[in-house]
Symmetry: none
Subunit: 284 residues, 2 copies
């Protein structure tokens, strides 16, 4: 049932693409099975565009690199892949259980796509920055607030000085004290949320490093941040809002946490163990 997720997406987005990108899209739609064995050069020649356009095309459809795009395409063509955009959700007379399965399916698909959206070098940079950070601000509102709060929680557990509240004005006050070496993590699916953007800019002016967790592609936050941790573009039923994007954001926070933990882990073990005994006793 769920064949052709990326292809579908390409078809849908095609009309909004620039001319050169649309040429690439057309070729792919007509010759999908050939693409996994083609290089950017091949594809650019066949489509009648430049190699750079091929790369741009990938970002436009929300995938981090041409390589990732090929991987996803192969998965899809081998035809059991998950349809991230399979939001036929709210349609018919679905039972709760069926809905549960669909939701789970969509969330799984989003995580699958998450790997393709991330640039490993950006991640490396992010971890380095975290390790040097004196204090960290997480900020996200609405659906992205959950990920921000989770980041706050997790990094606090690691011993960082970290702050997060959904209150814009409060955050503004805190951000005013940011300095070089500090980190501001802005989380926004679309990258267009005004509050997040403004705070990010402010943090940047103050000299802090801005890390964005946002969709690959035409996200303003994507362009302005110092370091971008890309999330895949997941279509959403506009009546529900995107439920899957929260998953990939949380997943990113998990990864940041694990990676940072991994690097400072040893030095943490002792104090943690000692605290652990007391903590266990206090835990209710």
């Amino acid at each position: 049932m769920s064949d052709a997720t990326i292809l579908k997406k390409i078809d849908r987005q095609k009309s909004e693409m620039s001319e050169a990108e649309r040429k690439v899209a057309s070729f792919i739609l007509n010759n999908a099975h050939l693409v996994p064995n083609m290089t950017t050069k091949d594809l650019s020649e066949k489509a009648g565009a430049s190699e750079a356009t091929v790369i741009r095309f990938c970002k436009t459809i929300g995938i981090g690199s041409y390589k990732s795009f090929k991987l996803m395409l192969v998965k899809e063509l081998s035809n059991t892949s998950i349809d991230v955009n399979d939001f036929s959700l709210l349609q018919s007379k679905d039972s709760p259980y069926e809905l549960f399965n669909k939701v789970t399916h969509v969330n799984r698909g989003a995580l699958e796509a998450a790997v393709s959206a991330l640039d490993r070098r950006e991640l490396d940079k992010a971890i380095d920055v975290f390790l040097e950070a004196d204090s960290i601000l997480f900020y996200g509102v609405g659906g992205s607030g959950a990920a921000a709060a989770d980041g706050h929680y997790k990094f606090a557990k690691l011993g960082f000085r970290t702050t997060m509240t959904p209150d814009f004005h409060f955050m503004l006050s805190v951000a005013a004290h940011l300095k070089k070496g500090d980190v501001f993590v802005g989380i926004s699916t679309s990258g267009k949320t005004k509050d997040v953007l403004e705070l990010a800019r402010f943090a940047q002016v103050r000299g802090a490093t801005v890390i964005a967790i946002t969709n690959v592609g035409k996200s303003p936050l994507y362009k302005e941040a110092d370091i971008v941790l890309g999330t895949p573009m997941v279509e959403h039923e506009n009546r529900i809002g995107s439920i899957a994007s929260k998953m990939v954001q949380m997943n990113m926070i998990d990864a940041l946490y694990v990676a940072v933990f991994h690097r400072i882990g040893l030095s943490l073990e002792e104090p943690c163990k000692k605290a652990g005994e007391t903590a266990d006793r206090l835990k209710r």
Copy 2:
């Protein structure tokens, strides 16, 4: 286990390979899902062999190039399911990117397992109860706080009277006003968290329906709740704490939200649409 043709082939040929190639084979067999995102360099380092050996390995198993090998592997892997307990996480010299992949993989696996942990009748019951609920309390602490907060947020969006704060004493005060027909949603992975258990019991005494989102199995919460939405037991690196359990909890909240939305959806559309215009304008 699914019939993995290349992997099987590798396993079969392994005994006849040279030492270095066998190392490569072993790594691939143990970490197949990571390989498509690895370069020859990555793989050679992880396997403890040279890049040249990786290429030779591909030829040995009868595949012309490393790239082709990866393509075939992806095709094959897209048909196999994930091992939830594959927590080879935090192994020595993992790069952030590798950790990201592993984390993502584990989270995906957890979601995959989530389907089998849930009893559909319990879910049906839960939805019915929500639809009749006068007010809803969500409660979870620590890692489970995120899911509780998300439930709070989502059901508020649906127009429910809902409350959630991690403050036990505050919740106690609120729970004192619960009555028959109200709902208390307790979230705890282990089901042993004292605060959650006590609050759940209190809510039950007050006549509210207690819904638990907790691990299937030896969870006290599981036994005492009126309705249990089971989550799968996911092994966790005890040094990290379970990161995946949060995912399945959130997924459950998503499903509840979508299912409830689905049932009351039509009646909501009008007010939502009207509010939507104003809301869009206000959104920053």
